[in-house]
């Protein structure tokens, strides 16, 4: 051909490579989300929505690492629509996740925001995968063990009481839609063939008696941060227990120098003032156990969160009560929320208990809530 010109058209419709590699990229992004769980579960938007909504997590797309210059430390060249004067300010540092409209400042490398939608349930599932009630004792069966029916199949024959109305109606509609005779009256008729019944399997119920005693310091020294952390911990704990175990009782105990039982709502919302006497809540818990949850029949899990700022004279008393508590419980969780870098006296006192059933955690940063959950419930 003269000029060597060839013009052609091909069928590229099966060329899916871009989509395949995009899928792989997405997969990798999701892996990263898993690794970031620690940061995600303390997100206010999740805690505050009570877990009903999906949360969109602004997510940088996967970075392609390489040796590159520090963007913030170098001079750039830009082009203006007018004369620029040295010293002129073009824009501020970008607010997180929002593109700036200023000229030039928006062009940050590697700043591709990838919105990954994560539902609360997905998050909970990933999170709870690793959690369980430790040392759960099978011998502590409830006095009456009951079988638990589980509806998991649909059949054409069965007991009238178990008729599956929705499926039966669907069958009827389907049948009439297929029938060659147009039924002008358009009245739904249910024939015996349409009937569908739910059937079940009985499974022995392995549920054991477990009770959680959630104890929280509500004294004046518990600041915003401390309360937030404790609240986040208990938020996930409660959800985790309700999702995985059907009959776990949770009792909420609040204390400053005195301890008392409160409702779940009060527990999460109320703050009080005054000093801290941790022994008060331990004593309260022990009494509660003695009265209502005999250790022989119950798995007991007391979890206590405080800032550790206990009255010094109370420490030895707290220690001996804690020893008793550890004895009757499956696992005791003690969490201290510290923003300073010294271990408080109550923690160092409690460290004398060597029983592995006592799990001590210190939370200094939001992201450590996840670690704390794993420490206590594993």
């Amino acid at each position: 051909m003269d000029d060597g010109i060839i013009v052609s058209r091909d069928d590229w419709s099966l060329h899916r490579k871009g989509y395949l590699d995009q899928t792989r990229h997405k997969e990798k992004v999701e892996e990263v989300i898993k690794q970031q769980l620690g940061d995600l579960i303390v997100d206010e938007s999740i805690i505050l929505t009570d877990g009903k909504k999906n949360t969109k997590i602004p997510m940088r797309s996967l970075e392609e690492f390489r040796f590159r210059y520090d963007f913030n430390k170098r001079n750039h060249t830009g082009q203006g629509t007018k004369k620029m004067v040295p010293g002129e300010i073009m824009g501020r540092e970008k607010a997180k996740g929002k593109g700036s409209t200023g000229s030039g400042a928006g062009e940050q490398p590697g700043e591709d925001i990838y919105e990954a939608e994560v539902s609360y349930e997905d998050l909970a599932n990933i999170l709870f995968e690793e959690l369980k009630l430790p040392n759960l004792d099978d011998k502590k069966r409830p006095l009456i063990a009951h079988d638990c029916p589980e509806f998991n199949d649909v059949r054409k024959k069965g007991l009238m009481a178990n008729v599956d109305k929705k499926r039966t109606l669907l069958e009827s509609i389907k049948r009439q839609a297929f029938s060659p005779k147009k039924n002008n009256e358009a009245r739904l008729k249910i024939t015996p063939e349409d009937l569908r019944f739910k059937t079940w399997e009985t499974r022995p119920n392995f549920e054991t008696n477990a009770v959680i005693l959630a104890m929280m310091d509500t004294s004046g020294s518990m600041g915003q941060f401390e309360k937030y952390i404790a609240r986040t911990f208990f938020f996930w704990m409660v959800r985790f227990l309700r999702l995985k175990y059907e009959h776990v009782e949770i009792r909420f105990l609040a204390h400053h120098t005195e301890a008392k039982e409160v409702t779940e709502e009060e527990f999460f919302t109320r703050g009080e003032s005054g000093g801290t006497r941790c022994s008060s809540v331990y004593k309260f818990a022990l009494e509660l156990i003695e009265r209502q949850y005999p250790a022989a029949h119950h798995n007991i899990y007391p979890i206590h969160f405080t800032d550790g700022d206990n009255i010094g004279s109370d420490n030895s008393r707290a220690l001996s009560l804690m020893k008793n508590l550890v004895e009757v419980s499956q696992v005791v969780g003690y969490g201290e929320i510290l923003r300073t870098h010294y271990s408080s006296t109550l923690m160092s006192t409690l460290k004398r208990i060597t029983d592995p059933k006592l799990r001590l955690v210190t939370i200094r940063d939001r992201s450590e809530v996840y670690v704390a959950l794993k420490t206590v419930f594993s």
Binding site: G4, G18, L62, R74, I89
Partner: protein
């Protein structure tokens, strides 16, 4: 033959004649009309066929979003081969196609004649197809995970090839400073080293006492430098050759990525000059053609979109075409052809970005001051020099291999040739672990952070950082 094909056939013939008549010299071109989705897939991969990796998927997704939101539009994609391939967007208007085809011929002219492309293989489509097939076989044989892990690591250093060695005479790159422990100048050097130390001390005590002192310092230091340091720029080649723990197929992956990187490199370093050239010529060609009023209007609209100044950074089309236009005012076509033959972006900017252009285009330098982005300079020479600096080494930091048996334990010692700008430390650490994965043993990188010499060492996925001792620390 469908209608679109036959019209493009006619247009292509017509424009080829006009372009040749004006002096452009290009390979034969195979045009192919493709739908938008295919076009931006090619754009993301840089080729119609290429191996599989998630990073291309990411690029593809980005381009797709931009296309779907109507933020950007690719009209064509030209592949540097002989014959050249040009992919045109399905459904372009006739005028659009005229412009695009003129643009394509100018690109192919550039590929054919610019000396930076003189060594790129002209059958790269087939080669990359073969690479893709090979990698797919490896995936079946060794598992996708492992291939991906290796590719992640290799791609993280894909820019670190010795593109100059590749362009110059075809020398065999075998004499590599492997295990160069004993290279330090032993006896003769000690006195000089001492001198140098003294000198450094002096320098520190009287800082900035006279202008240009830093220049003197460099000269003096150079004089006292013992031997030229043996260093090696082709990191990929070095790893392919000498990494102790790599499997053969992994070396093959390195070699594949290296070959493709060398192929793409000239395109990276001629972005402004090449896009400018193509834009300059499509405008010239369109002026030669008989256009109706409506066509002229459509052309003007599209041309202005192409050369729209970008709000952030610089539009290479715009900057490039402006420089070419200003050159065309003073120079003959022959001179222009000579410039397209011998220059790349760096020299193009350095030689031809004039004061008038900097002022006309309102170019300025800016940087981060505190939390603000602030205009720092508008003097034309500073703007030009800053642009030039950004183009050095294709905009990538220069990392060289110093030795492959660091501390006698088989570690890899890399050095960042610091040229005034620090590295992104977060990226540095991550990349170093990737390099370490390839090398197997410890990997060390020497660089400068906030004027202090720092050594990063990566081993077993952990990166440690230590300051180099100030004096007497010249172990490398």
């Amino acid at each position: 033959m469908d209608y679109e094909i036959s019209t493009i056939n006619t247009i292509a013939r017509e424009i080829a004649q006009v372009a040749r008549g004006m002096g452009l010299d290009f390979y034969p071109v195979n045009f192919e009309i493709v739908p938008a989705e295919t076009l931006y897939t090619f754009g993301a991969y840089g080729m119609p066929v290429r191996f599989t990796h998630w990073s291309f998927g990411k690029a593809f997704y980005k381009m797709k979003i931009q296309y779907d939101l109507n933020l950007s539009r690719i009209y064509e994609l030209v592949i540097n081969t002989n014959p050249a391939y040009a992919f045109l967007l399905e459904g372009n208007h006739i005028t659009q196609n005229k412009l695009v085809i003129g643009h394509v011929y100018a690109h192919v002219d550039f590929f054919k004649n610019n000396r930076y492309f003189s060594r790129t293989p002209k059958d790269m489509v087939e080669r990359m197809g073969a690479h893709a097939e090979k990698i797919r076989d490896y995936e079946l044989q060794y598992g996708r995970e492992l291939i991906e892990r290796t590719l992640d690591a290799v791609l993280s250093i894909q820019e670190h090839v010795d593109y100059r060695a590749h362009i110059g005479d075809n020398e065999i790159m075998e004499n590599v400073p492997y295990v160069s422990n004993n290279r330090s100048c032993d006896r003769t050097c000690t006195a000089k080293t001492k001198n140098k130390l003294n000198l450094e001390k002096k320098k520190r005590t009287k800082r900035a006492s006279f202008p240009y002192e830093d220049l003197w310092g460099d000269l003096l230091e150079d004089e006292y430098k013992c031997l030229p340091q043996p260093e090696y720029e082709d990191l990929l080649y070095y790893i392919m050759k000498f990494a102790p723990g790599l499997e053969d197929w992994q070396r093959d992956l390195v070699s594949i990525v290296r070959e493709e990187s060398l192929y793409f490199y000239p395109q990276i370093e001629t972005k402004i000059i090449n896009e400018g050239w193509a834009t300059f010529w499509h405008a010239r060609i369109m002026h030669e053609l008989d256009l109706t009023d409506a066509e002229s209007l459509e052309f003007a609209l599209m041309h202005s979109q192409v050369v729209q100044p970008s709000r952030m950074g610089l539009n290479p089309y715009y900057l490039g075409v402006k420089i070419w236009e200003s050159l065309a005012k003073a120079k003959s076509d022959d001179e222009l052809f000579e410039i397209r033959e011998i220059e790349n972006d760096l020299s193009f900017i350095r030689n031809h970005l004039t004061r008038e252009l900097v002022e006309e285009l309102n170019l300025f330098n800016y940087r981060k001051v505190g939390a603000h982005w602030q205009v720092t300079e508008t003097e034309w020479e500073k703007v030009r020099d800053n642009l030039v600096q950004q183009l050095i080494n294709g905009g990538h930091p220069r990392i060289v291999v110093i030795e492959g048996d660091y501390e006698g334990k088989g570690g890899l010692y890399l050095k960042h040739r610091h040229e005034g700008i620090d590295l992104d430390v977060v990226y540095l650490e991550k990349t170093l672990t990737l390099v370490q994965f390839l090398w197997g043993k410890a990997v060390v990188l020497e660089t400068v952070v906030d004027t202090k010499k720092v050594i990063y060492e990566s081993f077993n996925g952990l990166v440690s950082r230590r300051q180099m001792p100030r004096a007497g620390g010249e172990t490398v």
